[in-house]
């Protein structure tokens, strides 16, 4: 037996023994996600147990170095952990922007002191991060951002406003883009900086989404004092860090399109739509749409696997995550259009207990943001055209 096969067996056995049955069911509400943070609360005992066991094994982030609380696994091993978790439908023990966004940027651009300070608190779920990129006048054209950071001795004084800051009202710290040189060209005067959301002068104001939920905020900075040592990378070179982080964010968001676990969508649809005499979904056109969707979903899963393998083999294009982000998010929107169509009038209930507080229509509406957040679909296509296809003037 090869080392990897042995590792797979051990992983399977360990997960079997340690993943509580409740943590193998598909997530149905926000409460099912554990985000960590100073004020974090577990919604159930199994959620706590699962998180703590995974944390102690270093598997909240299996592929980060052990010295930062990760599992120290190489690419092949981490893939095996992902596959074995997917095989039993195991939930992620900890979800956080620290893992999917800030961590990779810190590992590449952070100083050793910054890594030692922040990464272990991410893997242990102690600090919850939010992302301060977008501003009222800087969305797709992110590099036109205006939040200022002015020098005051060893500190920066930060003033300005961010918007659409997901979970800013629950976050402990923020990674933030600020303008440190207003005279430079727009991409050249930006810095990437970290600070505590409890700092004096930071305030947030929640914004309600069409789903009726409020997962993001306006975030205001009024003379917030931040040590210069909190800049990641070089001052005025923050755009490099920002872009690198976006690659990881986009890869993460693209994963929304593939949820290979659980019952096939066609069977879920049949619960409400019914079968014909031959056992096929009663609505033949919906059946065709679902089959076409599942083909694309399986293909996306293969592409996601291949993207990781290509990166490992040093053959990937840095902008490829934009391609995946585009496809994965458009696919997830299709999934929810199908689920709404399959659910018929049952999927229209917004508040009843039977509908778990309108879980399906709220989730459907939430997916519409997938092709906006992290860069819109149009922006993703522009990046592919320019950076991968090398089309002129893009």
């Amino acid at each position: 037996m090869s080392d990897l096969e042995k590792f797979r067996r051990e992983t399977r056995a360990w997960l079997e023994a340690n993943c509580p049955p409740e943590m193998r069911k598909p997530m149905t509400s926000d409460e099912d996600t554990f985000w960590g943070g100073r004020d974090a609360k577990f919604s159930s005992e199994p959620q706590r147990a699962w998180f703590e066991r995974m944390r102690d094994k270093g598997w909240t982030v299996p592929h980060w170095p052990q010295e930062y609380g990760g599992g120290g696994l190489d690419g092949e091993q981490a893939k095996i952990v992902r596959q074995e978790m997917a095989a039993i439908g195991a939930r992620a023990p900890l979800v956080s922007f620290g893992i999917s966004m800030l961590g990779p940027a810190l590992l590449k651009y952070g100083t050793e002191a910054q890594k030692k300070e922040h990464l272990p608190k991410i893997t242990a779920g102690l600090i919850r991060w939010c992302q301060g990129y977008s501003e009222p006048n800087a969305g797709s054209d992110l590099a036109s951002l205006q939040t200022r950071a002015e020098t005051d001795g060893d500190d920066f004084i930060i003033n300005g406003q961010k918007i659409w800051t997901s979970y800013a009202n629950y976050a402990d710290w923020i990674f933030c883009l600020v303008r440190t040189d207003p005279k430079a060209k727009k991409h050249d005067g930006i810095s990437f900086i970290l600070f505590d959301m409890a700092s004096k002068g930071v305030s947030t104001k929640p914004i309600l989404l069409i789903s009726g939920r409020s997962p993001f905020c306006e975030t205001f900075f009024d003379n917030v004092r931040v040590p210069k040592s909190h800049v990641v990378g070089t001052v005025n070179r923050g755009w490099d860090v920002a872009k690198y982080l976006l690659q990881h964010e986009r890869a993460m968001i693209s994963g929304m399109g593939e949820r290979g676990v659980g019952r096939p969508l066609g069977q879920v649809a049949a619960d409400s739509v019914g079968h014909d005499e031959q056992g096929r979904l009663e609505d033949p056109i919906l059946r065709g749409q679902i089959a076409a969707f599942e083909i694309d979903e399986a293909a996306l899963a293969a592409a996601a696997e291949r993207a990781v393998d290509l990166a490992k083999a040093g053959q990937s294009h840095p902008a490829f995550s934009s391609a995946m982000k585009y496809y994965g998010t458009e696919l997830n929107k299709r999934r929810y259009e199908i689920l709404m169509s399959a659910g018929g009038i049952d999927a229209l209930e917004w508040e009843s207990e039977r509908s778990k507080g309108g879980a399906r229509p709220r989730a459907w509406l939430r997916t519409k943001a997938n092709s906006i957040e992290g860069g819109t679909s149009e922006v993703m296509l522009g990046i592919v055209a320019k950076r991968i296809l090398d089309l002129p003037g893009a």
Binding site: P264, G266, R280, A292, E294, A299, G382, A385, L391
Partner: protein, 334 residues
């Protein structure tokens, strides 16, 4: 296994690419078409493929000398006769095989038998029991195309390749010409079809990639309104979408091929996904390819039309995207 080509596979790809761009560029097919070549393909080229080992890739080496060995070394051309109606429906096979003496008598008709007009050997799916739609009762036969009662009619197709419509009128076949087991041929047939589907899906990925490459080049060269047409965002986004479709399909096809290698009997779903995706992607690629070339794309003199025609044939061969979507839905019980 990683979803990337191994070094050995990359070398194989490079040597195939070398041979084909040297000996069989589009102009080669154009020449066969325009000269109304009787065979419809070049036997010499087939020999060159065989010498490179391409025809024997799936055949273990110790079959030398047998019929299988001759297929592998390119000296014997076998054609596969499955389809009967306008669409690929292997379960609906209705060509009759009735027991007679020491063997069988075949009656019925096949269509879309690729290169069936020049084959040295036919592999024929027939119904030896049961009725169309049933899995049980299918048998595969090896049939000599020169046998009494076999009549092949060459049909030149839209892509300048050839298929045959073949009639079987009381064709006698010996019992020892049964491939596999009588009445139990479905599994074998399905397995072989899956290999074919994987291969055609790969061809369609290659086709899509080639058309796309030519199209992107054209977007950079062709100028209108004082700039390269590739500067127009409407075209940029469509090109980017096509690129993404092709890359996702490429991964799905690699996945199917690896599954066929590693887990042959349960590769059905992965193959259905790959063939369906490849069909849709190639269709999109050739449509966008012609459209973005404007009037030039519509001319026979320009090569892009050959790809459009070939994509249409590949889509039908061994089941189109709709067929495979339906298959997938059945596998998943909905």
């Amino acid at each position: 296994m990683a979803l990337v080509l191994t070094e050995e596979q990359s070398m194989l790809r490079d040597s195939a690419r070398g041979l084909i761009s040297d000996k069989a560029p589009v102009s080669h097919l154009r020449q066969l078409r325009d000269s109304k070549d009787a065979t419809g393909f070049s036997r010499e080229l087939w020999k060159a493929f065989a010498e490179m080992g391409f025809t024997g890739l799936l055949v273990p080496e110790d079959f030398g000398g047998s019929a299988l060995g001759c297929v592998a070394d390119g000296s014997l051309l076998a054609a596969f006769a499955v389809d009967e109606g306008a669409k690929h429906r292997p379960l609906q096979t209705n060509l009759q095989a009735k027991r007679s003496g020491n063997g069988f008598k075949l009656n019925g008709a096949k269509a879309f038998v690729v290169d069936g007009h020049t084959a040295d050997l036919l592999i024929v799916a027939a119904r030896s029991a049961g009725s169309p739609g049933e899995r049980d009762g299918l048998t595969l036969f090896l049939v000599d195309p020169k046998a009494n009662g076999v009549a092949a009619d060459r049909t030149a197709m839209v892509d300048s390749h050839n298929a045959a419509r073949i009639n079987f009128d009381n064709v006698e076949v010996n019992a020892d010409h049964v491939l596999g087991e009588v009445d139990q041929g479905y599994q074998l047939l399905e397995g072989v079809l899956n290999i074919g589907r994987g291969a055609v899906a790969s061809e369609m990925v290659g086709l899509s990639e080639e058309v796309f490459g030519r199209t992107v080049n054209y977007l950079k060269e062709r100028k209108q309104f004082g700039k390269a047409i590739g500067e127009f965002q409407a075209l940029q986004h469509r090109a980017a979408q096509l690129y993404i479709e092709i890359e996702i399909t490429r991964a799905a096809v690699l996945k199917a091929l690896q599954t066929l290698d590693a887990n042959f009997d349960s590769a059905g779903a992965a193959v259905a996904v790959a063939k369906a995706r490849a069909g849709s992607t190639a269709t999109l690629a050739v449509q966008e390819g012609v459209q973005m070339h404007g009037g030039m794309g519509m001319t026979d003199q320009f090569d892009i039309g050959f790809f459009m025609k070939r994509a249409r044939v590949c889509q039908e061969l061994f089941g189109d995207a709709n067929f495979h979507a339906d298959q997938l839905a059945r596998m998943k019980s909905y």
